[in-house]
């Protein structure tokens, strides 16, 4: 059975296993570019103790599948995997994995960054930070919106 391209899960992941699966999913791939996002220790001047990740079940998966489909139209991709964690995460925990296999390294890099950029601005996840000063919803960043604009 083919593994799903998108997993939304509370559990941690092993980037090494995901990269191996991407290499094997398509015979001999040439290139696998990947990205791992990690819970930062600081944001907007405050120390982060933990993070609560809320999402919109159903729409989350749907929006990431649509982003992957757009990436596949732009670049010749052999395999893609996206994992995003939800629920309570600690400082330094992994949050997100995006991996892309292609014959061409330029395509693998570009598609991996494209998927991350659109995931950041389109997939319905919301982070609530717990800092020493209390809890707060994380503000969306204009730099993330600008990051998607350059792909137009």
């Amino acid at each position: 059975m083919e593994a799903a391209e998108v997993n939304i899960q509370p559990e941690d992941f092993d980037a090494g296993i995901e990269i191996r699966n991407l290499r094997e999913a398509s015979g001999t791939t040439g290139a696998v570019a990947s990205f791992v996002g990690v819970v930062s220790d600081r944001n907007d001047g405050a120390d982060i103790e933990s993070l609560l990740l809320e999402h919109y079940p159903g729409m989350t998966e749907k929006s990431i599948v649509a982003i992957i489909a757009q990436a596949k139209q732009r670049w010749p991709l052999l395999a893609v995997k996206v994992i995003h964690r939800i629920g309570k995460l600690q400082r330094a925990d992994q949050i997100v994995f995006v991996g892309v296999a292609s014959r061409h390294r330029g395509a693998a890099f570009a598609a991996c960054e494209y998927i991350m950029d659109f995931l950041k601005t389109q997939a319905p996840f919301w982070k609530k930070e717990k800092t020493s000063a209390g809890e707060r919803w994380v503000d969306a960043r204009s730099t993330d919106t600008e990051a998607t604009a350059r792909w137009k």
Binding site: L53, M59, I95, K128, D139
Partner: protein, 80 residues
């Protein structure tokens, strides 16, 4: 009936996660109807950065509604 969902800061400010309400013409009419629930509702749902999704696709407030549509209101996303 419509299935209406609220997420993140909007869910907290309205103290409501999900409700069902009678089908109306479009999202604007839904917001008008929801605004009767409390003084904050119009402010929160009309805030300029609120995102509206109908059946899990992003739309604007003029989007026409149909019976059994799922309508969601949420703030700008911050995943990744």
């Amino acid at each position: 009936m419509l299935d209406v969902l609220f997420f993140a800061s909007i869910r907290e400010r309205l103290d409501s996660e999900r409700l069902r309400c009678a089908a109306v013409r479009d999202v604007d009419a839904l917001i008008e109807s929801l605004s009767e629930r409390g003084p904050d509702w119009a402010t929160v749902l009309r805030a300029p950065n609120v995102i509206i999704a109908v059946n899990q696709e992003i739309v604007d407030s003029t989007h026409r509604l149909h019976a059994n549509d799922q309508v969601a209101f949420f703030p700008p996303v911050t995943g990744g």
